[in-house]
Symmetry: C2
Subunit: 280 residues, 2 copies
DNA sequence: TATTATTACGTTAGGCGTAAAGATT
DNA sequence: AATCTTTACGCCTAACGTAATAATA
């Protein structure tokens, strides 16, 4: 049976050309390494070396053996790597959501129910979520509708979210009880990044508007407080991102802006604990 | 570092489903095998087993690990096999000849010069020899001409051979000093098998003749002695296959039937000893 | 003389089996 | 009670390093 440790020494010798040099490099004694090479030769069962009195070199068979040994060693490390990778995947819950707010609700519950699991969340466009479905690269999805690409059994209502604009109290729209996106088209807005499908929704329904996207939360808040540009807020986000005193929220009346989110799980039995928790 | 012996036990366990059964099968104790499985698990570094108190089973990661381990083990045995194969090829001289007689001359010399080498001889058609050239699947070739597919430096004259027919003394051709193949066309002949290009030569030049091919040397000789059918003989073969008293050899005059054989070697430096020996 | 490979040899770590324990059917 | 896995423990092999040898540049 091949000893992979000795085989590693063997290819190291091939790349170095000297026993003593390898011995020093890997911190074993020269006699040990010499014996290892004899063992390798014995397991192959054919001569691999030219032995002159004080110089060991590979013969042509030895060179071939090195070549094959390298691929063997690399498949060996592949074997380890892939199994570890597989195990890691088993221990991570991949959550892909079309919007951030549902994650705020979902993550604390997930962490509580599966404390040993790693939870990998990402906010995706709808087409990315569709891709995740067809590639099976998810454990949990959050969509703004029930998809027909998955069975109804695996999808459940999660929560509603209602979009408002957030304007200075002196803004020309400030007095209205509600607005529609058509009326908003043309106004420029402050927008946070990582909004998922909200971002696309705004751009599609207000093509004449421009959106100043802010990546940084602090900078975004500063701008909301100190500029006159309108921004967005939702009923769910209002706890996390309170409205400044000089601003007021005005609900958007469009159906598109009042969303129901649905959770879809790949493995219903694995997450039945989660699902029953969410129903409460 | 993976221990392949333990890994073998691991896949054996996967195929069997019980430690004690495997232990019995491969003649080691159950505790040793138990430890081996613990070692395998440790080298992978992830859980591979479900451990109930008295039943060990693989988890899903374990099943993946078995899968990868099987391919690793098979590439390991491939590695051994291919290196051994390569070594074996280095230690065999592959000789392909268009006819048997040149081998009679060549083989004793080869055996004397390279006593440790295995010599693999075969008698081939010309097109097989051409294939051997393009596939590099030879060490020494014997052709009835100098081929242009190889450099002149690697080809040398070996010997001549002259074909005769061998007829009963009462045969109608028995009195002739020589014959041409055109005149022989239509006669039926006894023919030995394994004649290489001689066989094709006869069939091409005497298409109206029939050839009774004998595989067995004894049977062939019996027929030559006891039938009236003409056969063939050459000057080189005459020592090995003496002409019966009731027969006589008549030389064939065609140029095709009087051949010069050439030896071609793949590695001239490797066989320069042989070549200088042959020149004597 | 310095460097290199290998053999000799003594020590010790680790691998194996026996015995035993703990648990299940 | 029989079967199965795992732990405990002692033996003994075999793997390692040091020291020595032999040979070369």
């Amino acid at each position: 049976m091949i000893n992979l440790y000795e085989l590693e020494q063997f290819v190291l010798f091939a790349e170095t050309g000297s026993l003593s040099e390898v011995a020093e490099r890997i911190h074993i004694s020269a006699p040990t390494l010499s014996r290892s090479m004899q063992n390798v030769e014995a397991t192959f069962g054919v001569p691999l070396f030219n032995r002159t009195k004080n110089r060991l070199t590979l013969n042509t068979t030895g060179l071939k053996a090195v070549e094959y040994s390298k691929t063997l060693l690399s498949t060996a490390s592949d074997t380890l790597m892939k199994v570890r990778e597989y195990d890691k995947k088993l221990q991570t819950i991949v959550v892909k959501s079309c919007a951030p707010a549902p994650l705020w609700k979902l993550l604390p519950t997930l962490n509580m129910l599966y404390p040993s699991m790693t939870i990998a969340t990402s906010i995706c466009d709808i087409n990315e979520l569709d891709a995740a479905i067809s590639e099976n690269s998810y454990d949990i999805l959050i969509l703004p509708y029930m998809t027909k690409a998955l069975s109804e059994d695996s999808q459940f209502f999660l929560m509603d979210e209602h979009l408002s604009i957030c304007v200075r109290k002196d803004h020309e729209l400030a007095g209205k009880p509600s607005v529609c996106m058509k009326a908003l088209n043309g106004y420029n807005f402050l927008l946070r990044s990582e909004l998922g499908f909200w971002d696309k929704l705004c751009r599609q329904n207000m093509p004449a508007s421009k959106f100043l996207v802010q990546n940084d939360e602090f900078e975004f808040n500063e701008l909301v407080s100190n500029s006159s540009l309108p921004s967005f807020i939702t009923d769910v986000a209002i706890d996390r991102y309170p409205i400044p005193q000089n601003r007021i929220a005005i609900p958007i009346s469009d159906a598109d802006a009042n969303v129901s989110f649905y959770i879809a799980v790949k493995n219903t039995s694995k997450y039945k604990g989660l699902l029953s928790k969410l129903k409460q």
